[in-house]
């Protein structure tokens, strides 16, 4: 009887573990077919190095060129702690100098509590920027992390009444030209146009976009685009930060 009970406990425990694995996968979307064949850490095929020529948004207006900082260690066992006040505190904490003003070079480094972290200038190959793959591809920690992202959008004219539309996993905060634009709190899945800013103005010329994404367990990614008054994507802009450094 005892043996039977022990076997049942073992079976039950295994089922619970499998169930939680399923939950984890289901909650973060299906895995890509390309992920299963990775043998060595690599950010390919999710990212390519950003080159010097300006890049247009994709067909739906998503911004794919970003300067991404390797993940800052920010332990959280769960994403349910990401309330509005927690997120504001976490994102307005200064982790490195000039955090809210810098447009770094590819390869620049910052030191955060002893961690030396590198900025990478990259083009995402999908509409969404897969931060989990960015971290795992660089053999960095993937969970309990905080990412910083910067890009520069060049607009051919002043455009009023645009909105920054963001989806992120998990919580995130976004700034346009140093002004807070969008805040996404809670344990989030990434959904395009999930939260949208109030009406903003894109200046003629460069506009600096800065974002921070925090994640405990699970996948992590984001997508950003600008939409007009009618909800249509703004595509006649380019992304190039070569001339807007520092």
């Amino acid at each position: 009887m005892k043996i039977f009970r022990n076997i049942m406990i073992l079976v039950f425990s295994l089922m619970v573990v499998l169930a939680f694995q399923d939950c984890s996968i289901a909650s973060d979307g299906a895995t890509d077919s390309t992920t299963t064949s990775n043998t060595a850490p690599s950010i390919a095929p999710y990212f390519k190095p950003a080159i010097s020529s300006p890049k247009a948004p994709d067909d739906e207006g998503f911004l794919q060129r970003w300067l991404l900082l390797e993940p800052i260690n920010k332990p959280n066992r769960t994403n349910t702690v990401f309330t509005d006040s927690y997120i504001r505190n976490a994102f307005y904490t200064e982790y490195f100098p000039n955090q809210f003003t810098v447009v770094p070079y590819d390869g620049d480094t910052v030191t955060v509590e002893g961690q030396v972290l590198v900025w990478h200038a990259l083009d995402a190959t999908s509409f969404n920027v897969k931060l989990f793959r960015f971290a795992s591809g660089l053999d960095k920690q993937m969970y309990g992390v905080l990412f910083w992202a910067v890009t520069v959008v060049n607009s051919p004219r002043k455009i009023k009444n645009v909105r920054m539309a963001v989806g992120s996993n998990s919580a995130s905060m976004w700034w346009l030209n140093s002004k807070e634009a969008v805040l996404l709190t809670g344990d989030r899945r990434m959904v395009m146009d999930d939260f949208v800013s109030k009406r903003l103005t894109l200046n003629k010329g460069p506009n600096i976009i800065r974002g921070a994404v925090i994640n405990g367990p699970g996948m992590s990614d984001f997508c950003v685009r600008f939409i007009d008054e009618n909800g249509e994507p703004i595509k006649d802009i380019t992304i190039s930060f070569e001339n807007n450094k520092k």
């Binding site: 006040s85 927690y86 539309a165 709190t185 999930d194 949208v196 008054e229």
Partner: protein, 483 residues
């Protein structure tokens, strides 16, 4: 004795509750057989049996003052070009003991009796009944066919057939040689409308003119051709008494009759009718304006918005309008999913306003849409506001967080926010219209520094704003879920 008192109190409470559910117009909405409501130079007009009619500045509060000469019964109005054609009937209806009657048409350039352009002209007879034939030529109503511009007129009562004749839309006179066609029996007070390739014939069944005992109710059949045959949802011809129910008695309002379409655009259609008796108003016959919904190709009465406490759910995303405040977790013991045999089952108390409100900011708080969790920052109490006017069918409402005076308001930059205290400021007043699909449009009375008619709109899955209503999109459609 005590039981009788309790029963009586319960009856009064039930009546008050029912009163709350129903909606007739405010002011002096007393009328019988109202004509289709017309908007003319910024005012709403309707005419009834007997002389005169009602005027309203906003479609909610009505007063006497409209002028229609000729007397008689059951007029109707249609606006074509620069003319308002008015039809009415004299004689018949069994009122003087007979059914010999004439239907008249006349026209005026405005319905505003104060205007120098006001004045009815060219009164002409367009249909008759001789008192012997199977028809009583009263209760006339217009239809301008949107497919070809032809003008039609239905008339008749229980005394025989409902008939249709064709008029000249340039003069309002009968087309020479046109013969009446029988299209229904067993009803009166007909009206017509066209939608998506179907002609709809609405008729009033039941008995009128008996106050709270009137059995009036409005029914409908439809046809691919304007001259019929009109069948109901069961295929029963209206020439054999068919008709699908559109609206019947509700709450303190008894005996709806005399349908009139009020198309406000932006997927908002309403209809006017009279109720034979409003139990709150000495049993008088009153004007009512209600939403008109469309379900599977059939019109059905909607309901004017009722006060209460609701989740306000975005039709676009299904997320709920909420304050931007910290989500507060409910205390609970983490358990496996299987109940422990020795553990008693007990209720878990819901999170209450007092549990969280002290941590909310005291100034303005922004709003967003979130997963609905039945939490205090997601519960909205919606209440009509006195003395601020209204719109066709309803007064303006305030939208406050349940248990507080914190109110939803429009801002000068065309966004929405909550203010700590409701002050009756016009940007805190909301118009809530049911759309033809049953969802709702939510619109501020005023947007500071703006004259554009903008409505509460989801931009993105979780962000509310004020934007133009797009009838093709779910962005501006909302549901109210009772809590």
């Amino acid at each position: 004795m005590k039981f009788r008192i309790l029963t009586r109190m319960a009856s009064i409470l039930l009546f008050l509750w029912l009163s709350n559910l129903a909606s007739a117009q405010e002011g002096e909405p007393y009328i019988h057989d109202p004509s289709t409501i017309m908007l003319c130079d910024g005012k709403y007009y309707t005419f009834g049996t007997g002389a005169g009619g009602l005027i309203s500045d906003d479609g909610w509060i009505w007063h006497r003052g409209a002028i229609r000469p000729g007397g008689g019964v059951a007029p109707d109005v249609i606006h074509i070009g620069d003319r308002y054609y008015v039809t009415y009937a004299k004689g018949g209806g069994g009122l003087a003991g007979g059914h010999a009657s004439n239907v008249y048409v006349m026209w005026t350039r405005t319905l505003d009796p104060q205007s120098p352009d006001f004045g009815f002209k060219d009164e002409t007879i367009v249909a008759t009944s001789d008192g012997v034939e199977d028809c009583d030529a009263i209760d006339s109503a217009f239809l301008l066919d949107p497919t070809d511009g032809r003008l039609w007129l239905t008339y008749g009562t229980y005394f025989g057939f409902i008939r249709i004749v064709e008029l000249d839309p340039k003069t309002g006179k009968r087309i020479p040689g046109n013969q009446p066609v029988n299209i229904a029996i067993d009803c009166e007070a007909t009206a017509m409308m066209y939608r998506d390739g179907w002609y709809y014939l609405l008729g009033t069944h039941g008995t009128c003119c008996d106050g709270p005992n009137s059995t009036y109710n409005i029914r409908v059949g439809r046809s691919r051709k304007v001259i019929g045959p009109y069948l109901d949802n069961m295929g029963i011809p209206m020439l054999k008494g068919g008709g699908k129910l559109v609206v019947a008695a509700s709450g303190p309002l008894i005996g709806p009759g005399h349908f009139g379409l009020l198309d406000l655009g932006d997927s908002i259609q309403k209809f006017s009718c009279h109720y034979e008796a409003d139990l709150r108003k000495s049993g008088y016959s009153v004007l009512s304006i209600q939403p008109l919904l469309w379900k599977a190709g059939w019109p059905v009465a909607g309901e004017n918005f009722k006060e209460g406490t609701y989740e306000i759910q975005s039709e676009r995303s299904g997320y709920a309008l909420e304050l931007v405040v910290d989500f507060v977790r409910m205390p609970h013991e983490r358990r496996w999913f299987r109940r422990q045999n020795n553990e008693p089952v007990k209720p878990v108390p819901p999170q209450e306003l007092a549990d969280v409100i002290n941590d909310w900011p005291t100034g303005n708080i922004e709003v967003r849409m979130g997963d609905f969790m039945v939490r205090p920052h997601q519960k909205w109490t919606i209440t009509p506001v006195d003395s601020v006017g209204g719109y066709p069918g309803s007064p303006y409402f305030k939208i406050t967080i349940a248990g507080t005076n914190r109110a939803l308001a429009a801002t000068a930059d065309c966004e929405v926010v909550t203010v700590p205290v409701f002050t009756k400021a016009p940007e805190q007043l909301w118009r809530i219209d049911q759309l033809i699909d049953g969802t709702y449009r939510i619109m501020p009375k005023v947007i500071p520094n703006s004259t554009e008619p903008l409505v509460l709109t989801a931009v993105g899955a979780r962000t509310p704003t004020l934007a133009k209503f797009d009838p093709k999109s779910d962005n501006s459609r909302w549901n109210f879920k009772t809590l």
